[in-house]
Symmetry: C2
Subunit: 380 residues, 2 copies
């Protein structure tokens, strides 16, 4: 029995992971980081899977990045010992942070305000157990963080360092997802580096130690030419890749390791539609390619082997219905896709599509052993 | 301790359900269906909760609608005895359908092609256990189903009736979500009714019994003035309502029973932003109000009591970050929202936002008993 035949036995929709592609993606960024001489701190929010994390961090103890305390708790319980929680901390979350640290995991937090720093300092003092913190720097104006020239970086640095809690600075140029092509991506990478290094140098000029200078996103990690002054790079979606990443040139469609297995449930032949049982519940409502040159709808349609199928897309989606069609302007009739046909849909955004599922059906890199079932977790 | 104080003790983000509003919403549609003299067959895909379903179907045995076989299995196990699986059936799903039926639940399927009818007839014959089917009718050109004048309705009807499996016809005018105002919605309701009744009459003229004539969506259920010939109405989101429904005039913002509890995690004061810990992972990526006159971003911001807060919206969202801001053109500064402030976000689309969570924190209709924890399920 082939793996494709095994996929035909699964209930649909289902999340499929091509382990061979994932391993290639992991090896590619690992090699790149080695060449650039920086540590990779993979962001585990994309896969939310202990099995995937083990392949991303062969030592199994870290370093890693997370986006929720639930992720921190799960990965700490799985043996990870070095975690950065990369979403601004709030006072109400400090007790959970301290519990994770007390269990032997070096969990650090990020912040960009005096109020947050005060709460971290107060909690550390009250318990006698330090909570190390990084100051978040804004490198693209898209989200949180202080401008690299903001004098509050020094104020915060002094307060944290005075309590022995200053670990460094971090930034994330999320806007790089909207860049296109090697040159634009490299410019974003340089911008991230400049912002983080500028802030670190300002702290050092003020007499404060700034051991960690952390930057990253998948596009900038793959585009950076020079990371002088940077100590670590964070990236998440590199592990699976997706159509948004392919659309900006960070990967090829053939690198995308994640897909949603679906079944044809009907047709509107006069409209050129096949209906499938993967709607937005299985694919996510993410329309990240809508702003790109090539709008992939709710995903790119592949055959059961994972090969793109005559450039069909999921043109529309309801909760449990997807409409497979040709692109606008392409008037060729649909290929023959009888009811019951299995297809695989490549996702716009791997983080969002993965989150709609509780497990991966894994096509193993070493064939002949059958599909593997790897759980995903979620929640906060 | 008040319920608002109890909400301040929860980890965020979290899904909050206002039971009093939900009960009002349920009572409103129940009363309407009673006046119109038709049976309500609630669509349980919105809440995916046995506790919510018990309030929607006081008898606890049905009738109900589902969008996945997982829903059918969970609700059948909870005692529901009359279920319509309203997504086109495929041969690969018939074994699960038969297992649910064998356990004593009258589960019916829908189809719109000869291939599907043949597989249902063959499976019924092979097992000696009937699988009743409804023919799906297309009333708005948006998804699946046969045109009400399509002669294949008779062909399918004859094949199914010959095997003793024809239960009736069903349609869903999903396009009604794009209508605006009472008159447009009533026109959609009339269109749904006309499509279903036309198809039923065609079957009857061909000498076939068509006991069930099933229509519905929340907008049409609330707008229909006359349902002559219709035997049952399906509706899902009426139980919670959401901003899309408020935007087309089916409910008021004050009727929305679902919200996402979140915490302020930072500010970009010069931009008029507050950052919160509810991104698209907690809110869903659904942007259903983007096409409406009043674009609500990723949701409308309320205070901890659930009252809209100075017309703020979640203007942008990353995976675990939301950006709270004023609407475009509104230049007033943000209200004072210190780090740690709890807010509640009303969702664009209750089905999508609910699906991002594993449980409801329920504010009980009868105060003084503390919050209740109702689980949600998911998967297929």
């Amino acid at each position: 029995m082939t793996d494709a035949e095994r996929l035909c036995d699964l209930n649909t929709p289902a999340l499929v992971l091509d382990e061979a592609r994932m391993r290639r993606n992991i090896a590619r960024l690992n090699a790149r980081m080695e060449r650039l001489g920086v540590t990779l701190r993979p962001h585990l929010k994309t896969a939310k899977s202990v099995e995937v994390a083990r392949q991303q961090i062969p030592g199994e103890t870290g370093p890693v990045t997370v986006s929720t305390l639930k992720e921190a708790e799960v990965f700490a319980a799985a043996g990870v010992r070095d975690i950065l929680y990369a979403v601004g901390i709030t006072p109400g979350k400090l007790a959970r942070v301290q519990a994770i640290r007390a269990a032997g995991c070096d969990l650090a937090v990020v912040l960009d305000s005096e109020a947050q720093a005060e709460s971290v300092i107060a909690a550390s003092r009250a318990s006698g157990a330090d909570i190390p913190a990084l100051i978040e720097i804004d490198s693209d104006g898209c989200r949180s963080g202080l401008d690299p020239s903001d004098p509050r970086i020094i104020t915060l640095g002094r307060a944290l360092a005075g309590a022995g809690l200053l670990r460094g600075v971090m930034t994330h140029a999320g806007d790089s997802y909207g860049a296109l092509g090697e040159e634009a991506l490299a410019a974003f990478a340089a911008q991230e580096q400049a912002a983080a290094v500028t802030a670190a140098e300002a702290l050092r000029r003020a007499g404060l130690a700034c051991p960690v200078v952390s930057v990253g996103s998948t596009p900038t990690a793959h585009a950076a030419c020079d990371l002088t002054g940077v100590t670590e790079v964070r990236a998440g979606v590199y592990v699976f890749f997706d159509l948004v990443m392919a659309g900006i040139g960070v990967c090829a469609v053939e690198d995308i390791a994640l897909s949603v297995l679906t079944t044809v449930i009907g047709h509107q032949t006069h409209k050129g539609w096949a209906l499938v049982d993967a709607g937005w519940m299985a694919l996510s409502a993410d329309r990240g390619t809508a702003r790109q040159a090539r709008d992939q709808g709710y995903g790119l349609v592949c055959d059961i082997e994972g090969r793109p199928l005559e450039d069909l897309i999921v043109a529309a989606a309801n909760q449990e219905h997807g409409i497979v069609a040709r692109r606008p302007g392409d008037t060729r009739p649909l290929p023959h896709l009888p009811v019951g046909t299995r297809l695989r849909i490549l996702p716009n955004h791997a983080c969002a599509t993965g989150a709609q599922h509780d497990a991966y059906a894994v096509i193993p890199a070493e064939p002949g052993q059958g599909l593997m079932d790897w759980p995903r977790f979620r929640g906060w």
